[in-house]
Symmetry: C2
Subunit: 219 residues, 2 copies
DNA sequence: ACAAAAGTGTTGCTGTTACACCCATGG
DNA sequence: CCATGGGTGTAACAGCAACACTTTTGT
């Protein structure tokens, strides 16, 4: 290979969702070689008439069937040996979505949701990319940087649900009474008046974020 | 221009420093057309045998004469019309440095430090890039995200110095007594035993960050 | 002595932590 | 009535916010 000032760039989109108190990622199974049968982050090579943001949106639309979502840029990976044959730069994006609204509710043999701590066998350097991007994201979630919690819970939720997700990301337990007090006493959440329908146990109260109070709030 | 999957990428390095309570950026004056006489962010086109990180380090070394510094990646800009002739993607990095240690202490006609709210006439889209990157950075500084304050104050400082910088970035005043108490009572800083040499007024006590206490500390 | 800038103490408020029992629902 | 999971109160402590006068230095 010869030294050149032209580079190949791909956009990789980490589609994430808060589901059952876990942080989950949507992955696709590769149908052809190399890495046939391995799972990969959905992506697309960038042409010089498209922006990275447009590219990410296109991947999002194709994968979820949704038009609009919370999509933002994260790291760009430029290691020389990411792929075998050619140096390809990966610009990674995160999309935060509501799993229940997408066309990909059900896991199939071709695509599925995985907990970010229970990843399947991944192709290329995608496991490393997920780990690096998620490490950054965990910091953002646990401090509510960029009001990111709101984006993971766009619709109604119970406080135990939120707490489970938060404990999962933080990886340590929190006292339920204190968690409840924090959100309710500071009016960070609003009671919707509805209760969760559940299989067992007392149904939880459904809350919604009080956007005004949550904006800029450091958790 | 024809659609292609090859792209030109440049690395832009925003070299920053906390100086006299202000956030300053190092810029270079462009010597040839286009934008001759305008100021620009130092940068370099990426070849396909170099990583973005290596590229940023090279720019840093060339500009400051320093070997190592705190350098990290920020946004990648891929607008189609950034430059006139060809679509060039800009991957921006921040370098945080100690202005007094660099070879660029003095402003010359070719390069100079500017307060980030008193920028000169900038070439290309560099003003927009600075503004977007600095907006993100301000959030990080004011929350001490990634322990960034330590990086801006690697050596001794007085509390009023730190406070001035902090007020400048936050763009609002803070009570001096409360600021002092916060850092001293929580042992976030250590008294070095020295005093600042100053032109007028009572000399300030020189402190150093207590790294262990500052790590992960949210300000 | 004056100007300039740094150092400092108290009080009330707000949020955090630690801790254990009762309540609503389905089976 | 039992299992499951949700809801709740209190007290001690820590950090934050609001407030003005004194000390050290150079001129």
């Amino acid at each position: 290979m010869e030294k050149s000032y032209y580079n190949v760039i791909e956009t990789l989109l980490l589609i994430l969702s808060a589901d059952e108190g876990k942080l989950k990622i949507y992955l696709e199974k590769k149908k052809n070689e190399p890495y046939k049968g391995y799972w990969i982050i959905p992506g697309s090579t960038l042409d010089n008439e498209t922006t990275l943001e447009q590219n990410a949106e296109n991947i999002y639309k194709k994968a979820t069937g949704l038009d609009k979502g919370t999509i933002f840029q994260t790291r760009t990976f430029s290691n020389l040996n990411r792929l075998k044959n050619e140096r390809v730069i990966a610009s990674s994006f995160i999309a935060i979505t509501d799993k229940t609204l997408t066309d990909i509710k059900q896991n199939t043999s071709d695509n599925a949701w995985f907990q970010i701590d229970e990843l399947p066998k991944l192709g290329f350097d995608h496991e490393q990319i997920i780990n690096e991007v998620i490490t950054e994201l965990r910091k953002k979630i646990t401090t509510n940087y960029d009001d990111i919690l709101i984006k993971f819970f766009p619709s109604d939720f119970t406080l135990p649900e939120l707490q489970n997700f938060y404990e999962y990301v933080l990886n340590k337990p929190i006292d339920r009474r204190n968690f409840h007090k924090k959100f309710v006493n500071q009016d960070l959440v609003v009671d919707t008046g509805f209760k969760q329908a559940k299989a067992s146990g007392r149904p939880g109260t459904l809350y919604r974020f009080n956007i005004d109070k949550m904006k800029g709030k450091r958790i």
